[in-house]
Amino acid sequence: MKRSISSPQAKSSQPRKRDWVHWALIGAVVFLVGVNVVYILGRDGFGPKAGERAPDFTLPALVDGSESWADTSLSQFRGKVVVLNFFSTS
């Protein structure tokens, strides 16, 4: 009698533990993939596509070889074609 009560308990607790491990692993994989996607999206190659609005910005600028910095915004040039040239001095 004692045996028949304890054995179903032992049987049911093991699969439940395995389920828990199973879902924890799936959760960990989903989390890691998510972190990678966020990292890659934030890094490069995912800016506005052709036809999408160009994000406005305001940055300090040297204009006409001047020595003093003046804030320049993209929105100042509305009505003109604007060419942005991203470069690095190093």
Binding site: D44, P48, A54, D64, V81, V82, V83
Partner: protein, 96 residues
């Protein structure tokens, strides 16, 4: 790109060079100002801490973004461009 700037008014184009400099803001400004002086550049040179490059999805330089007169992106590309290639893309952006 300075040549394009020289012709920019006539073409109805604004060309903005955006320098991405790491380090402190003041050091980055000094470095960029030195570069502008040494190259004798007359076009607007803007200092970016990386946030504008990120907003445009720029990962490698040189990179170019052509924006039409309505403020929409016409084309984005990476690599060196000749003056004629620049003009061609400017005209394409104008027709958007």
């Amino acid at each position: 790109m300075d040549k394009l700037h020289a012709d920019a008014d006539e073409l109805g184009v604004a060309i903005l060079a955006i320098g991405n400099e790491r380090g402190s803001h003041d050091k980055a400004k000094d470095k960029l100002a030195g570069f502008v002086r040494s190259q004798g550049l007359s076009l607007p040179v803007l200092l970016d801490d990386g946030s504008v490059a990120r907003a445009y999805g720029v990962g490698a330089v040189p990179a170019w973004v052509f924006i039409d007169p309505h403020g929409h992106v016409s084309q984005t590309l990476t690599g060196e461009l000749s003056y004629d290639q620049l003009l061609e893309r400017v005209e394409k952006a104008r027709q958007h």
